[in-house]
């Protein structure tokens, strides 16, 4: 196992070194991708080893950063899940990236991306492996910084620079909160995670609450919970596509990992309001995420908002788990946490697939705007089919993996209605309603995303000229699509294993009760059973039978190809098709109270008469209201303060010298006043 750990580091390090050393050509692309794949495979093997054996892996490296305490690495089953999902998304993305990076052939950006990608993957893989606060914070910051550089790859575009600024600001705010949280946690006594776990029992409840709150803000901003999600829809579209896949698939999950680690493992659960708050935040994030996703017509922004939505769903599971844990309902808590973890894995896989598909579209046409795409299913059949698999998975359609985890999430909220406290029951009912609405709206959004982008007639010449993605890009996507199906059919094996990892965290000894094997998922209390493999088999069988029957008994006349029916019009142009904005319009009107769209109509009249109109222009914009009412005032206030402080920067050398002397005098004075021992 130690060998695997070293291979993990070696793989990524060699990939990074190769990227720097081998220039900006095909060799560098492939070498860095290969290094990443080796590292990812080692990570996957390490995680699998820990999961199967059930025993943790530890390694102490006091030599590194010795004066500050040294680094410590531990991988327990919970961390192994996150390491596994990181590696699962990393390998196909790296393979995809080898082909995608041809975009920067001959430019320094190629070396930069190759290097930073490997550093990013290395630090991200080390986050679940961190065994002490110093290690954790170091690799966490490394992950944030390397992803920042990756986001800034195309830094000649102003919106990319702005995205990078938002991203950097949010990660640093998150880091500050995490620092505060860990400092408070260590007030019971320093040491690695195991020492902190023991010491946390002695902390006063006020400190525990503060630790939890700061951790929630810090990890929540990384995960993308509302209202700390504002960096997501900016940073993810700006980054290169395989990086977006990794950020959306793996990096935001590290926020969930951190939250689970601090609240459930280190603090050992807490009062009911922790779980209730997390559940409420999750439900709101899910619903608002999908509502804003519906209104996007940029393919990657749409996917980014869907990440917010799915993080909301995962957080609902985590919150429900925390809540049930505090209410002494361990079986229900286990189920909720299992649902959350499983959805984390599933989301990593299908969101990675979707981002890679969007990247293929961007690579082929140069555009992300759905209103200018269309008809890509003819030029890019593979990408279209794989994107369809991803869309069906994220919409929660059987028999793919998204459906299984949504089913689990539904079932986990049901016991809550029977909780002793009526407030919990009401919260559960509301969460159920919001979960169902989110699922329905998600399906609607992906009909739009897939239908407008890939189907019908191309809406621009670039879309008409689209070519299929290269084989390495396709291979990466195929691996993820197969994983979607495998995760669904293999649910009967994965879910009991996840419950055995979660059970010790909730306080139930050993493997959780009432999970049976053999093609069925049985929830505690015999509440419900479902078999994704049987559903998949049944569907396939029925569709095949129907097809054969129709072939045998229906008319043998050949299919005739004709014009789309047009109600008497002469010719069909792309302008006559439905657009993405038009598709989402009914929902926009229904939820207008949430969106508050601004509408601007200007009419150009003919100079001779007011009864003839030359042109009408319609402009409508939606500004998310947290940006308008929460962030904009804060930013403007910071700006006005900065301008006031700017007065200090007078440019005069005398002024600066005076500042130095003043600081020295004040410091000496303070020492005198407080007394020297």
């Amino acid at each position: 196992m130690r060998a695997l750990f070293l291979l993990l580091i070696a793989g990524y390090a060699s990939g990074a070194a190769a990227a720097l050393a081998l220039g900006s050509g095909a060799l560098s692309r492939w070498a860095s991708a290969l290094g990443a794949i080796v590292g990812a495979s080692a990570g996957l093997a390490l995680a699998a080893g820990v999961c199967i054996r059930g025993a943790a892996f530890s390694l102490d490296a006091p030599g590194f950063f010795g004066p500050v305490g040294g680094m410590a690495f531990t991988l327990d089953p919970l961390g192994a899940v996150f390491l596994a999902l990181t590696s699962l998304v990393a390998a196909p993305s790296a393979l995809y990236g080898a082909g995608y990076a041809r975009l920067w052939e001959g430019r320094p950006a190629l070396r930069q991306v190759g290097f930073m990608l490997n550093v990013f993957l290395l630090t991200m893989s080390l986050v679940p492996l961190a065994g002490g606060t110093l290690t954790f914070l170091l690799v966490w910051e490394g992950m944030s910084l390397s992803s920042y550089f990756l986001v800034m790859t195309e830094s000649d575009e102003p919106e990319v620079v702005s995205a990078g600024q938002w991203y950097l600001a949010m990660t640093q705010i998150g880091l500050a909160c995490l620092l505060g949280s860990f400092l408070l946690l260590q007030s019971g006594g320093p040491g690695g995670f195991s020492a902190l776990r023991a010491a946390a029992l002695t902390l006063p409840p006020g400190t525990r609450d503060a630790v939890f709150a700061l951790a929630l803000i810090g990890f929540g901003s990384k995960a993308g919970l509302i209202p700390l999600h504002v960096w997501l829809p900016r940073a993810h579209p700006a980054a290169p596509s395989h990086v977006s896949a990794l950020m959306s698939g793996a990096m935001i999950k590290m926020g969930i990992y951190g939250l689970l680690r601090v609240s459930l493992d280190l603090l050992g659960g807490g009062p009911a309001w922790w779980g209730g708050l997390v559940l409420a935040l999750g439900a709101v994030s899910a619903l608002l995420g999908v509502l804003y996703a519906l209104m996007e017509h940029d393919l990657k922004s749409l996917l980014a908002y869907h990440s917010v939505e799915n993080i909301g769903l995962i957080t609902m599971g985590v919150g429900a788990g925390l809540l049930f844990g505090s209410l002494q309902m361990p079986a229900a808590a286990t189920l909720a946490l299992v649902a959350a973890l499983y959805h984390t894995i599933n989301h990593a896989v299908f969101k990675g697939l979707l981002f890679l598909g969007a990247g293929a579209v961007l690579h082929a046409t140069g555009m992300r705007d759905m209103n200018r795409l269309g008809g890509l299913i003819r030029g890019m059949p593979w990408t279209a089919a794989l994107f369809l698999v991803g869309s069906a998975a994220i919409s929660g359609l059987p028999p793919l993996n998204g459906f299984v985890s949504e089913w689990l999430l539904f079932q986990s909220l049901l016991p809550g209605i029977g909780a002793p406290s009526p407030l919990v029951a009401v919260l559960m009912v509301l969460s159920l309603g919001m979960l169902a609405l989110t699922a329905g709206l998600c399906a609607a959004c992906f009909v739009k995303a897939f239908g407008i982008t890939f189907l019908a007639i191309p809406r621009s010449p670039e879309a008409a000229a689209a070519h299929e993605a290269s084989w390495s890009m396709r291979a990466g996507m195929v691996v993820l699509a197969v994983a979607c199906l495998a995760l669904s059919i293999g649910a009967f094996e994965i879910v009991p294993r996840l419950s055995s990892f979660v059970a010790p965290l909730v306080g139930v000894a050993g493997p959780a009760p009432a999970f049976s094997v053999v093609l069925a998922l049985q929830t505690p209390g015999g509440f419900a059973r479902m078999s994704p493999s049987l559903v998949a088999a049944g569907l396939a069988l029925v569709v095949l039978t129907a097809w054969l029957a129709v072939k045998a008994f229906a008319s043998r006349r050949p299919v005739r190809v004709g014009e789309t029916w047009g109600c008497g019009r002469v010719v069909q142009t792309p302008r006559m098709e439905y657009t993405a904005t038009a598709f989402a319009e009914p929902l926009r009107r229904i939820f207008a109270a949430v969106y508050r769209p601004s509408e601007d109509v200007s009419v150009d009249f003919h100079p001779d008469s007011r009864y003839f109109v030359q042109s009408i222009s319609y402009h409508s914009a939606i500004v998310p209201w947290f940006e308008r009412y929460l962030y904009a005032p804060v930013i403007s206030r910071i700006r006005s303060w900065s301008e006031r402080v700017l007065a200090l920067q007078s440019g005069s050398a005398h002024a600066y010298l005076t500042y130095l002397v003043l600081a020295l005098v004040l410091l000496l004075g303070w020492l005198v006043v407080t007394g020297q021992p």
Binding site: G440, L455, L539
Partner: protein, 313 residues
Amino acid sequence: MSPWLLGPVQAALALLLAPGLVGAIRWMKARLQNRSGAPPWQPYLELRKLFAKEVVVSNNASWLFRAAPFIVFGSTVAVTLLVPLLAVPLPFEGAGDLLVVVYLLLLGTFFLALAGLDPGSPFGGMGASREMTVAALAEPTMALAIFALAWSAGSTNLGHIAARMLATPTEGLAPGHVLAFAAIFVVTLAETGRLPVDNPATHLELTMIHEAMVLEYSGRYLALIEWAAALKLLVFFTLLGNLFAPWGIAAALTPGALLWAVLTLALKLLALGGVVALVETHIAKLRLFRVPELLSASFILALLAVTASFLLR
């Protein structure tokens, strides 16, 4: 009879009865509106005609257009294998519960909407957009109604719910159940494209939802889609009839019990069909932007069903 044979028998029975159900509703509507109307077996003749006709496909359509009817039909037939049509316990009890049923129907809707967008016609786009809007807004009601039922029965498994209702008949009149029935009835009207949400009668009224999506289909593809729509209606009626009033369902797989089950099922379908015919004759179609009001009202009914269920625990 072996329990595993029950599944295909159920599916075959559903396939056989579905067009007759649609025909019966049309006939009842006609009689209520003082017309003679077509005979109740007209949809069978229509299906036979459509299977024999030539298929015309748009030149803009892709493989998805030709595959979608099979996926829609297949998913709806798969649902008939999971609902308590004839007997309890169900053969595929461990395969799926009420949530699986709802999501399988969503699978069909998803692909039908995509098939509406494929030919590039604005009517298809409009139908697809409206269909997904209505489907999304009906989801919360369905989820809460399911949980009102599951809460009192102790499981979301369909056979279990039906068996529980058979065991304690007085629970059938509990306020929670009545409200859940009303909520699911409104969802049925919305999901199967009946008035006041959508008009299934005329094919050229372009403000429609379901008919606008399938405008481009012809021949055997159209036959499959129409049959699937009839099956969906039958499935919803079966859920309404056999979950809330399961008396007549066979508990043992003997020929006598099964025959009785078929008879009572037919009676329940006709009764619900009569109610739908009355509603359709009495009410005019709602504008699209009044449909969310109707669905909100059904959501409130489902919410009250859940609260009533746990007020009486």
